[in-house]
């Protein structure tokens, strides 16, 4: 596999404000890279830098092995889908899709055959003679996709393409984008603030915060082994539980002590021989704290905690309990008998636990 996109030591400043700091990413042909982060983290700016729509302050952007740093967007062999779709309002759908080819002087016959092909692929043949103003949000989205697809570029860029759609349509289009990616084998870079979109679509995720890459990895790596507190907290819904704790060595491994209000501290024993500092933050995802008896394994430890709030969500029931001064969310089976104000025995799966340094926020295990 060849490297399709490589961003090397990229910096971007607006005046004296640093937007992106030393960005290094590389993806191979056929990869689906998702840039994710909270708003203002620089992810859209990074996409614009890759597209050539923003000048970069320092560094290099290589596309398909060529250095494209000083090449204008039209010569980078890319196609882009925008958040507002950016359809040309006075042109029909067909003209919107063929505009790029027309500008590049592709002959009319090729234009028409490509248009027909894309229209079929996206099932929008009946829409071709309409103006963007006469289309619904989902249809506009399709046209924007069509405009990108028809170009058959080296690299597809998506700038939060689904954020203007309602929840149901968003999930449908997400699946459709995933299918397109599989069908075309195309290389895509996708910006979103929605971590579920990131998890479902990506073959590789870049988590950004304040213009700095926090972690690069596959969705599983990011989810299971977050490199720091920010990534742990940002990825996953409901978020990972992060509980302050103190550790001490015990006969078999490490003893972890989590303070509780009006109760004795919760004691857990991690048998994996880790060398942890005294103060740590224990990270456990909601699905790794279940009702006792529903999880088996070497790392599983049980303890009784007071149930605070019960939130049935259909497939699961979320139960909150207070641990280490924070509200801890646990994901229980739907038929749980948990009642607010009553104690319940929970199973903590320490095989999945993450430890973080409370000062630096970085991962310890």
């Amino acid at each position: 596999m060849s490297v399709m996109l490589e961003v090397k030591n990229l910096f971007k400043n607006y005046g004296s404000v640093e937007i992106l700091k030393d960005i290094n990413v590389a993806i191979e042909k056929g990869d689906f890279l998702v840039l994710v982060g909270p708003s203002g983290c620089g992810k859209s700016t990074l996409l614009n830098c890759i597209a050539g729509l923003e000048e970069i302050t320092a560094g290099d952007v290589m596309i398909g092995g060529q250095n494209m740093t000083d090449v204008s967007p039209k010569d980078r062999d890319i196609a882009m889908v925008f958040q507002s779709y950016a359809l040309y309002p006075t042109m029909t759908v067909a003209k919107n899709i063929t505009f790029g080819m027309k500008v590049r002087g592709v002959d009319a016959q090729t234009q028409q055959s490509k248009l027909a092909e894309v229209a079929k692929q996206l099932q929008m043949e009946p829409l071709l003679n309409r103006k963007p103003g006469q289309l619904s949000g989902g249809q506009r989205q399709r046209v924007a996709m069509g405009r990108a697809l028809v170009r058959d570029p080296k690299l597809f860029l998506f700038d939060e393409p689904l954020s203007n759609l309602d929840a149901k349509l968003r999930v449908e289009m997400r699946t459709e984008i995933k299918r397109l990616h599989l069908d075309l084998g195309a290389t895509m870079v996708y910006v979103t603030h929605d971590q579920i979109e990131a998890m479902t679509l990506a073959t590789k995720i870049v988590v950004l915060k304040d213009g700095i890459i926090q972690q690069i990895g596959t969705p599983a790596e990011i989810y299971n082994n977050p490199k720091n507190l920010f990534v742990a907290d940002f990825m996953g819904s409901p978020a990972m539980n992060l509980m302050p704790a103190t550790t001490s060595s015990a006969k078999s491994g490490t003893q972890i002590q989590i303070e509780r209000e009006n109760d004795e501290p919760l004691i857990l024993n991690d048998k994996a021989g880790l060398n942890l500092p005294k103060d740590v933050i224990v990270g456990l995802r909601p699905e790794d704290i279940v009702e006792a008896g529903f999880r088996a394994g070497t790392g599983v430890q049980t303890a009784t905690c007071m149930v605070d709030i019960v939130e049935p969500a259909g497939a699961d029931t979320y139960v909150m309990t207070k641990l280490g001064g924070t509200e801890v969310t646990t994901r229980l089976h739907a038929e749980t008998q948990a009642t607010p104000g009553k104690p319940l025995e929970f199973a903590f799966d320490l095989g999945k636990v993450s430890y973080f340094d409370p000062d630096t926020g970085s991962r310890l295990n």
Partner: protein, 298 residues
Amino acid sequence: MTDFSTNQTTRKQGRAGQIALRWGLYLILCLFALYYLMPLFVMLTTSLKSLEEIRTGSLLSLPRNITFDAWSTAWSKACTGIQCEGLRPYFWNSLLLSVPAVMISTLLGALNGYVIAQWKFKGSNLIFSLMLFGCFIPFQVVLLPMARVLGILNMAGTIPGLIFVHVVYGIGFTTLFFRNYYVTIPQELVKAAKVDGAGFVRIFWSIFLPLSLPIIVVTVIWQFTQIWNDFLFGVSFSQAGTQPVTVALNNIVNSTTGVKEYNVDMAAAIIAAMPTLLVYVVAGKYFIRGLTAGSVKG
């Protein structure tokens, strides 16, 4: 039951009040309309009367015998100073000067607005502010420097010279109009077109101009009215053969010998005002629409 009936009566009273209010409103509006139409009425009726009738009759009475003599005199025979060719040659001068001046200033305004709104560069805001500043400079201030510039350019007293003056003076306004319109167009449109391979001119021509009809109408009406009605530049920077219609009208009214021909003056004034009226009647509805279009478009 009683509750119901009192409710009905109050509702009836309310409706009666509303109708009265509406009628009152219309009455006031009609009075205002009459007030504003009065001069036009006097102009029209006077221009259709003979001099004899004007002298003997009342100002507000309708003409007894309608005659178009005054109109034809005003158009082709009335004297402006020593020449007696009527308004006709000057009317053409005005057209020859307004049409290119309107077109050039609108096109330049569109280009400027496009650059300032969508292709920001270092200092573009400063340049825009300076152009805006130009809108607020009174005509009188630039008369002498402008005369000097026209002299240097060898365009003094010519129609191209006047076109130049009006274009320079108009750019501030036209740029403002187009800039405010184009600012409402999302930047992503330009980005999408750039990725599609279009350049500066292509994006302007294929994407922005087709979107601009409402603001073009506004600008054309505005510029045409300004340039056609201009007197000061016309009288300052023209000479015998190149005077616009406003200057000729002034000369007709001021240079009669002997009897003052009110009917001819009135007819000449109406002729001089006709094109702007026509433009406004034809394109007026786009004018209001265009003025508000920028604010609601997302």
